[in-house]
Subunit: 222 residues, 2 copies
Amino acid sequence: MDKKALVVLSGGQDSTTCLFWAIDKFGKENVSAVGFDYGQRHRLELECAENIAKKAGVPYEIISTPIINQLSANSLTREDIPVEETKPEGTPPNTFVEGRNMLFLTYAAIYAKTHGMTDLVTGVCETDFSGYPDCRDIFIKSLNVTLNLAMDYNFCIHTPLMWITKAQTWAMADKLGVLDIIYNETLTCYNGVMGEGCGHCPACALRRRGYEEYMEMKKCTR
Amino acid sequence: MDKKALVVLSGGQDSTTCLFWAIDKFGKENVSAVGFDYGQRHRLELECAENIAKKAGVPYEIISTPIINQLSANSLTREDIPVEETKPEGTPPNTFVEGRNMLFLTYAAIYAKTHGMTDLVTGVCETDFSGYPDCRDIFIKSLNVTLNLAMDYNFCIHTPLMWITKAQTWAMADKLGVLDIIYNETLTCYNGVMGEGCGHCPACALRRRGYEEYMEMKKCTR
């Protein structure tokens, strides 16, 4: 029997690349996606994700999780706290929602098991590690064990972007034939501007730098 | 500085015993409790917990988490599925909410860190292990590591009942001077009857058997 995979899809560059990676690996008919509505600042994110899943031809379900706001408050979810554009070295940016990835992946795992899926795909990445402890590979591996013990099940968490740079993520999208979709229809920007973004928040800077680097690489290897 | 502890308090025998255990260990002024409203069949549970926390003199907060019902449905939360009174050996009873303890302890951990607490106390117990994989000691230890990695924090999960019998849990309550509160004001019964319970659901049977055993023990050691 084919393995069935669930992609955690936020509508950003990374998770969208992972969606197409999963379709390539598992076959479209074996891939589903979920997103989480936790009262994020930009609900456009969820619309992007929905639109992308539709184009990709995979089912997409939004799970509502207002509890994230109840547990700890910060700038990704609260309009009254401005996004920091610079931050002290080594501290997480104030967009950090404590334990968020852990909750999202746990929800995804419960959903996956309920629907007979074993494989979870997430776009977390240690290379652009910006102080989020729950993006680290060691955390993901530990979580995989904990989930398997919690539900007596053999989950397998895939992190195709864990050790690659943003430029390599663009290269992956290009290889998968979805560079245009990623470039134009994903939302990475902290200020909620789709595609190229606002151009000055940390997420836009990282994304643009990666894109330019990849375009340079491509020129050189032509 | 004193350690501060958070007790996951459902209003049942086990978590209530743990609350008084924590008060004894950490000092009342260092103990808080949380409960989870996940649309459980018996909301009386939350009222019991609130009442117990008030009597104990510790703060109690209810966190609302309807997501549990969204992710998987079963008899603890759905009125339309009857509680099984017998079940095949080795299978979890149909009161099982997949991954529930993992979610509750993760919520509790996020809440604890946000409030400067490091110690989590839960009434999970492997001795009366009835097919719930997320009540096992190995799961709790793995979760402790995962939480510490997820939030870069030194949580310590305490499970004072992990390896003791129900009779020994009654003995613990007696030693802590709270046998009466536990006997009369907790709700363990699957059918929602406080104190002595309905007398015939699996939870009532387990509780009564433990109580009688402890009373026998007490007679013999008098």
